[in-house]
Every structure is written in C-alpha cells, then in structure tokens.
C-alpha cells in the first residue's frame, strides 16, 4: 500500500518537474527571439505537466468517494409559492387600480421604445436605388483594376479580364468580366452589344455575390467557386448548374473613336444576389 502511494508521489512530482523545466525552456526560447513550434510544444508541456500531476494526485491521493448527498426533488414547498403570489398580488393592487395611469405608462414606454430605434438608423444609409445601379455610365471607358484602359487588340481570343468603369476601380458592384469570343461564336445578347467579339458580364454571382472567378475557354463557361454555379457565356451567361437562378447581367459594349472599349450604359438590371424588391422598377 505504502509502496503504491510512494510510486504515485514520484510520478506526480515528475509531472510537475516536467512542467517546471518546460516553463524555463519557454522563457529561454522567448528570450532567444521566439520560435512558434518550440513555444507551442513547451507551453503544451508546461500546462500538460500540471494537468497530469493534478489528475494523478486526485486519482491516487485524494478521497475518491463515492459520496452520497441528498437532493430535494422540489426545493420549494407549495406554501412558499402561495406567499410569493400573494406578495406580488398585494403589491400590484395599487397599480392595477389606476388603469389609466398604467396605460399611460405603457404608452410612454412604447413611444420611448420607438424613439430608441432612431439611433439604429444612423448605422447606415438608406438602400434607395443603390442596389439597382452600378458606376457604369454611357461612354464609361473599360479599364483594368490598375486604371489602364483596354484596347481590343490587347486581349487575345478566348482571353478574359476583370474590368471596371474608368475612375471607379474601387466600385465593387461594377466589377465586370470582359471576354474575347472567337469569331465563329454567335454573340450573346441584343445585337450591337458585342463589338468584335468582346462581351462583358457582371462578375458578381447572382447567387450569393461571390466574384465569378474561373473561365474555361474551351466550353465557354464561367464557374463560381463559392457554390459551384456555372454560367454559359454563349447563352447569355445563363446558369446551367449550381444554385444560381439568374444569368449574369450583360454590359452593352462598343468601341469609341480613339479605339478603346467603352460601355453603352449601365447594366439593364440589378447585378449580384437577389433581394425582395429587385424586380420593382419604382
């Protein structure tokens, strides 16, 4: 028996000892400039040593039980409950008698509650028409993220480019994919929107708004990596797979007199994910 106890003591002491050494090691590592892996391992050993020591201590050298304790199944007796009810009732009586005042108080609280909502209004601007428009305007030059305008000859056939309206490269809702389709492909969209095979679609997925990042030139399909919606560029970017329900809106393009790609105007419908009144034009 004695032997058992002594053995436990040795193990426990060893565990705490390991912890002490690890803590000292941690200090050394820190002072030497730090090293994440060593820090983690030593911190783990320092904490783990304490943990193991405590477990062994509790298991071998502390009263283990089982102890039994009574539990009152229903702590409160019915009388006490009745007393509480009575006290509540007695206190409420003078309030209840003045029904008019009670109602006025209720109204005051309600009015104040509504007044409290106004600061919440300060948290953001009204949505207004913001979701219905982007920064594209008639004649907006098509530029890259760094602001440089795009000439048709700069994008090879089957090439793709993320573009913005000039001076609005920060407008996230205006991000657009410019794709150079080969000549033998019937251009999607209304006639005159796809000069020299250059077609543009909003880059914001109509499902949950992720940038539609991947283009497979062979199949002429766009892939959204978020939930795997697939859009068929030749078919006006209609979704063919995945949860998206609407095509990516198409941007009408043309080429201006100086030979740069420009937009004929904004997208004709809201870009990006749906919202309750998206189809209302008023």
């Amino acid at each position: 028996m004695e032997n058992q106890g002594e053995r436990s003591i040795r193990w426990i002491a060893t565990a705490f000892g390991v912890s002490i050494v690890a803590s000292l090691g941690l200090a050394v590592v820190y002072l030497l400039g730090g090293q994440p892996q060593a820090e983690g391992a030593l911190l783990g050993a320092a904490l783990g040593g304490i943990s193991v020591g405590l477990v062994l201590w509790a298991k071998h050298l502390m009263p283990g039980g089982p102890e039994v304790q009574e539990r009152e199944i229903r702590p409160e007796v019915a009388e006490a409950q009745a007393e509480v009810e009575e006290t509540l009732q007695a206190g409420a009586e003078p309030i209840e008698r003045r029904t008019f005042l009670a109602k006025m108080l209720g109204a005051a609280f309600a009015a104040f509650g509504i007044a409290l909502l106004f600061p919440i209004r300060s948290l953001g601007g009204a949505p207004g028409r913001a979701l219905f428009r982007t920064a594209w305007r008639p004649g907006s030059r098509v530029v890259r993220a760094d602001g440089s305008p795009v000439r048709p000859e700069e994008l090879a056939v089957d090439g793709i480019l993320t573009v913005f309206p000039e001076t609005h490269t920060e407008a996230a809702d205006s991000q657009t994919l410019l794709i150079h389709l080969p000549e033998d492909v019937q251009p999607p969209g209304p006639p005159g929107w796809v000069p020299e095979g250059f077609v543009a679609f909003s880059k914001i997925c109509t499902h949950a708004g992720c940038p539609v990042g991947l283009y497979e030139a062979e199949s002429k399909k766009l892939f959204c990596p978020c939930h795997q919606s697939v859009f068929d560029v030749v078919d006006g970017a209609k979704p063919t797979e995945g949860p998206a329900t609407r095509p990516l809106p198409q941007l009408p393009l043309s080429i201006d007199d100086s030979g740069f790609l420009v937009a004929q105007g904004d997208f004709e419908e809201p870009v990006g994910p749906g919202f309750w009144n998206r189809g209302r034009d008023d």
């Binding site: 009263p63 283990g64 304790q69 949505p127 749906g274 919202f275």
Partner: protein
C-alpha cells in the same frame, strides 16, 4: 493561514455556511459530464489569448503599402487590419502561437458545446426541471457560432472576406427588411468600410459579455438543481452520488483546464491554422478557390451548395435562393431545438421532474429522431466540400452535388430507422451494448 483567511472572510461576509455547503457539494462522475466544463475552459482560454491579441489588432480598413517580415506581400496594398494580423504573426514574439491558440480554442469551444448538447439531448437531461438551462445552453451555442464567425472575419483576408460577402447576400435575401438590414449592419452596400470595426466591437465586447453572463447563469442553475446522474446502484431521483467538490472534484476540474490548455497550446504551436498571408488581402473582385469556412459553418455552406436553383417570384417581388438554405433552415433548426423539451413533454405526456438520466435505448423514438437529425446535418456538412471531393475523385462536381442531394433525403430516415430498431432491440434484450446484441433480436419485432 487557512484559519486566518476563513475568519477574515467570514467576519466580513458571513459566508461560512455557504462555503461549507459548497466545498462538500457532491458532483457525479462521468466523462460526458466534462463536456460542458471543456467548453467553459475553452472560453477562458479564448478570453486570455483574445485579450493579448486585442492589444495588437487594428480594426481599421484604411489601406497602406505592406512592408514587413513576410516577403511575398511586400509592396502590396493591404488594410491596417490585415497588416496588423501579419505583424502579430511575424513580428510580435509569441504572437503567432497566441493567434493560432485562439483560433484552435474557438474551434474546440464550439465543438465542445455541440457535443455537450448532444449528450444532454440523448440522455434526456433537458427534461423538467432543466428546460431553462437547455434554452440558455442553446443560446450559448448560437452566440458561440456568431463570435466564431465575427472573429474569423476580422483579419480582412480574402477567405474571410468571401465569407462576409456571402453573409451580406444572405441578409439581403430576407424579405422586406433585408435590404435595410444589410445596409444597417454593414454600413452600406458591400463592401462598406465600417464592417470590420463593427465586427470587432461585436467580437471582443458584445458577444463575449453575453456569453460570460449566460454561462454564469447556466452554472448557477446547475449548482442550484444539482447535476443529473446516470442510474446505477445506490443512485436515486433523490440523491447525488459522486465526488466532493473539495478537494477531489476541484482538482480534477483544474487538471481538465490545464489539459485542454496544453492541447490548445500544442495545436497552436505545431498545427498551422488560418494562414491569412497565404490567402492574401481582401479584394472585392478576387476569390480564393476552393474555399471552405470554419467547420461549424459547414452545414450552412453545404446547404447553400445543395439547395436547387429555386426561388419564388411574383409581381416583381422575390424570395431569393439563399433565403431558404441560409435563413429558413437555421431558423427552423434552432426553433425546433428551442422547443424540443416542450414538444417532447407534450408528445409523451411526461411532465414529471427527472434527475436520473436516460440511456439512449430508454427512449428509442427520441434517439432515432436525434440520429436522423444528426445524419441530415452531417450530409450538409460533407456537402460543403463537394468541390474538394470532386477534385480528388475526378468526378464532375455536379454529380457529387446530386449524389449529396439524394443522400440528404435518404440517409436521415434510414439512419433513424436503423437506430430505432437497434435501440428497441437493446431495450428488449437488456444487452449491455450493441456488441452484445444477439442477432436474432434484430430480426424479430417486439413480441410482448
């Protein structure tokens, strides 16, 4: 020493009788009763590491050019938030370990709460008189999810920015108030400038305070009601059999705290997590691929991926697609969970107080429903990585998605039915466990 201290305190607070009662309080012993404690200690680790992180994190999205230890990003425009996370990771001594410990602790925190909830569910520990603690516990789980997501979004990296982008679209999909809500929460059309600063306040103040408060109430109620116990020799509805708080239980509990901390420290030091420098800073027109959220949002991500391209439109109004998987589904999920104790009491007519736990077999219907539900969310969770699976198996992602859709409808009822048969057989034969179940018990139905 102990004597002087007790006297000094008792003189001032008169707390001796309470203290005596407290020290002698008996706690039942079972490994599964430690899950809640595990969550509590993870929260403690989160607070400790989180305070450290908050001294270095800068929640501002104003941009500057990165110059620092991490070579590949030198010269790149990044937000101050992102930069401060890089500096914390590469330049602050012990910073990376703290950050990774914080992230690991968060993952374990939510896992512990979740498994704790399962334990409570399958043992019927939510029954009268413990309904209030079920409600509080569930709220803690939701707050945990919220704080996990808000913390994950703070570094302003490309991966978490994508998560925020989806969250914005999901808020936008709520009927009538969705557009206003999205603009108020985010401060304007995505990506508005304010969101990181707001999430910071939510993450380090509002939600943690709520969690701390509710945890205190949760524990106080456990204390007041005394812990449940599994049935066994000498254990009745009217007693508690276990170990006294002082010294045994307290020592073991402390050991658990240090043990969890040790595991978190080792993970934090040795297992890389959320390397935001690899994802790059957030850019609204860029996207990481493949992209998965932290594990606890996997079921929502999976639901977004599996839900078919359906939505309701009429008169120019619409109920957009993300609404169903990302608002309706969690809404139903959490409401069902909140109502469960009351639904079950209504359906079984059992409104008696219970302090002895049930084994899974004691209530085959509940167990079967629980397993079926679990199977449902498991399929959703798995579906969140359909793109990875498609890459590994070289099968088109559409086929995998369709397979998951079928699985989502078939697997839960099958799992539920099998569970019911097994639990029923266990109950009838009184076999110790599934391994001891005679085969004949599975083929024959109840014959009483």
């Amino acid at each position: 020493m102990i004597k002087r201290l007790t006297q000094w305190i008792d003189d001032r607070l008169g707390a001796s009788s309470f203290a005596k009662q407290a020290l002698n309080k008996v706690f039942p012993d079972h490994w599964s009763f430690l899950l809640g404690e595990l969550a509590l200690y993870c929260f403690l680790i989160l607070v400790l590491t989180g305070v450290f992180l908050s001294f270095f994190f800068d929640p501002s999205v104003s941009e500057s050019v990165y110059r620092g230890e991490y070579e590949p990003l030198n010269g790149v425009h990044v937000s101050n938030a992102y930069k401060s996370v890089l500096d914390l990771s590469f330049e602050v001594r012990a910073g990376l370990v703290m950050r990774q410990m914080h992230h690991w602790a968060a993952l374990i925190f939510i896992a512990a709460m979740f498994v704790h909830m399962l334990r409570i569910f399958f043992t019927g520990a939510f029954r009268r008189p413990r309904e209030i603690n079920w409600l509080i516990g569930l709220t803690l789980l939701i707050l945990g999810l919220l704080n996990g997501f808000s913390g994950y979004s703070l570094p302003d990296d490309l991966l978490s920015g994508t998560g925020l982008r989806i969250a914005y679209s999901v808020v936008l999909s709520i009927p009538v108030i969705g557009t206003w809500m999205a603009f108020l929460v985010f401060g304007g059309e995505f990506p508005a400038e304010q969101i990181i600063e707001r999430l910071f306040v939510v993450h380090i103040f509002i939600v943690p305070v709520a969690i701390a408060g509710l945890m205190t109430a949760h524990l106080a109620i456990v204390w007041r009601q005394k812990h449940t116990q599994f049935p066994g020799p000498g254990r009745t509805e009217g007693n508690v059999v276990g170990e006294k708080l002082w010294p045994t239980y307290m020592t073991k509990s402390m050991a658990l705290f240090f043990g969890v901390s040790a595991v978190v420290a080792i993970l934090g030091g040795l297992v890389q997590i959320n390397p935001v420098w690899l994802y790059g800073p957030f850019r609204a027109e860029q996207i990481p691929s493949p992209a998965q959220p932290d594990w606890y949002l996997g079921w929502l991500e999976g639901a977004l991926r599996l839900f078919p391209p359906w939505e309701i439109r009429a008169f120019g109004f619409e109920l957009p697609n993300p609404f169903y998987p990302a608002i309706l589904l969690p809404g139903i999920t959490f409401n069902l969970l909140y109502l469960w104790p009351f639904l079950e009491a209504k359906l079984t007519g059992d409104r008696e107080p219970h302090h002895l736990l049930e084994r899974a077999r004691d209530h085959p219907v509940r167990t079967a429903l629980g397993i079926a539900g679990l199977a449902f969310y498991l399929v959703l969770f798995a579906a969140a990585s359909n793109d990875l699976l498609s890459k590994w198996l070289k099968i088109p992602v559409e086929s995998i998605t369709n397979a998951y859709r079928v699985l989502l409808l078939v697997f839960p009822p099958v799992a539920g039915l099998i569970t019911y048969r097994l639990m029923d057989a266990l109950r009838r034969t009184g076999a110790e466990g599934l391994m001891h179940l005679p085969l004949s018990a599975l083929t024959r139905r109840t014959q009483e």
